[in-house]
């Protein structure tokens, strides 16, 4: 009886993840399609373009790498730039530890492979809003969020390679992604400290936007975390 209740709860956590991940099909598909088109234009073979989408699954860094390959930059520079774009995911990885740390290693490895902006922001939002979730529920929720996005990411890359046409710019799909991220972050503003962190992030990121490969964003993120923690400490001392 108890086991079956746990199983049901875990299963419903998985389907909740699938449901919450589904809207991202809208933004991931055109992005993957565009990657397929651009990689093919750049002269990559079908296998190579697919290799990027399956092994890397990190859109921005894939675009950065292909761009630099077409400019004949050295391999070391291509890797440095593309990996710098992905460094923010080390912060994602660290911030998931309090929620997923006790999960089995294979689950943590699988979640790491699938840890990109959309799956991360959706999952962390759910974990914060529902502290009562168990570790297995959190793990399957994450996999649930990835379920509709990841296969489509791969499939739409293939469609882009084969069809060779991207979705017209006039649809402004470039801006659906920022809207979705803003919509997910806004409800997370639970305190003055969160608001201060977000403002610090915006200001520093804009000031450092000229820096290459998203390194400005990394500095902005670290500064914003420090602002958030400082304001939190300040509010505690003030409250007591």
């Amino acid at each position: 009886m108890a086991t079956s209740t746990v199983k049901t709860a875990t299963r419903s956590a998985y389907w909740a993840g699938v449901r919450d991940g589904t809207p991202f099909i809208l933004v991931a598909s055109p992005f993957a399609l565009l990657f397929g088109v651009i990689a093919t234009d750049a002269g990559l073979t079908l296998g190579q373009a697919m290799g990027f989408s399956v092994l890397v699954i990190a859109g921005a860094s894939q675009f950065a790498a292909v761009q630099m390959i077409t400019e004949n930059a050295g391999i070391a520079f291509v890797l440095l730039a593309a990996l710098a774009v992905n460094l923010r995911m080390a912060m994602y990885s660290a911030s998931l530890v309090p929620y997923l740390g006790p999960a089995p290693l294979w689950q943590r490895a699988l979640i790491s492979y699938l840890n990109f902006d959309q799956t991360y922001i959706t999952s962390i939002g759910r974990y914060e809003a529902r502290p009562e979730m168990t570790v297995p529920e959190r793990a399957v929720y994450f996999l649930g969020v990835a379920t509709p996005i990841t296969p489509l990411w791969v499939l739409m890359t293939l469609v882009g390679i084969l069809a060779g046409t991207a979705i017209p710019d006039a649809w402004a799909l470039d801006f659906i992604m920022p809207i979705m991220f803003l919509a997910m972050v806004a409800p997370m503003m639970k305190s003055l400290a969160h608001l201060a962190a977000a403002l610090a992030s915006i200001i520093v990121a804009l000031l450092l936007f000229w820096m290459p490969s998203g390194t400005g964003l990394l500095i902005a993120a670290v500064a914003a975390m420090m602002v958030g923690a400082t304001v939190e400490t300040w509010m505690e001392t003030r409250g007591s």
Binding site: F52, A94, P98, M177, I179, V185, V204
Partner: protein, 111 residues
């Protein structure tokens, strides 16, 4: 492009492995060992510290307009944040933002 097939595959393999190691870093190695309270306090702000900074330049200087600020996109972003703060509901915020975006694009003759 002067890259050979082997060189491209080298980039793909190393970028794939490196990206996985970045993602696996803390979650894989720390596991359920306790982290210092100060670190936990900093990490609580990860989503609100990364995403606003990632999105802000896209809102102010969108690539689609060649980096020129676009009033339709700026208003859509503000409406999304406003509805998100007020309703605490992701889907309402997305809906309001997308409707505002297309209304704004239509009003400014971009649609």
């Amino acid at each position: 492009m002067t890259y050979s097939a082997a060189q491209i595959w080298t980039v793909i393999a190393l970028l794939g492995a490196g990206t996985f190691l970045i993602r696996f870093s803390f979650l894989g190695l720390i596991g359920d060992r306790p982290m210092p309270p100060l670190v936990l306090r900093l990490l609580r702000y990860t989503p609100v510290a990364v995403l606003p900074g990632m999105v802000a330049p896209l809102v102010l200087w969108p690539a689609a307009t060649g980096g020129q600020p676009d009033i339709a996109r700026i208003i859509a972003a503000l409406v999304t944040v406003g509805v998100g703060l007020w309703s605490r509901n992701v889907l309402w915020a997305v809906f309001a933002g997308v409707v505002t975006l297309y209304a704004g694009l239509a009003a400014t003759g971009q649609l």
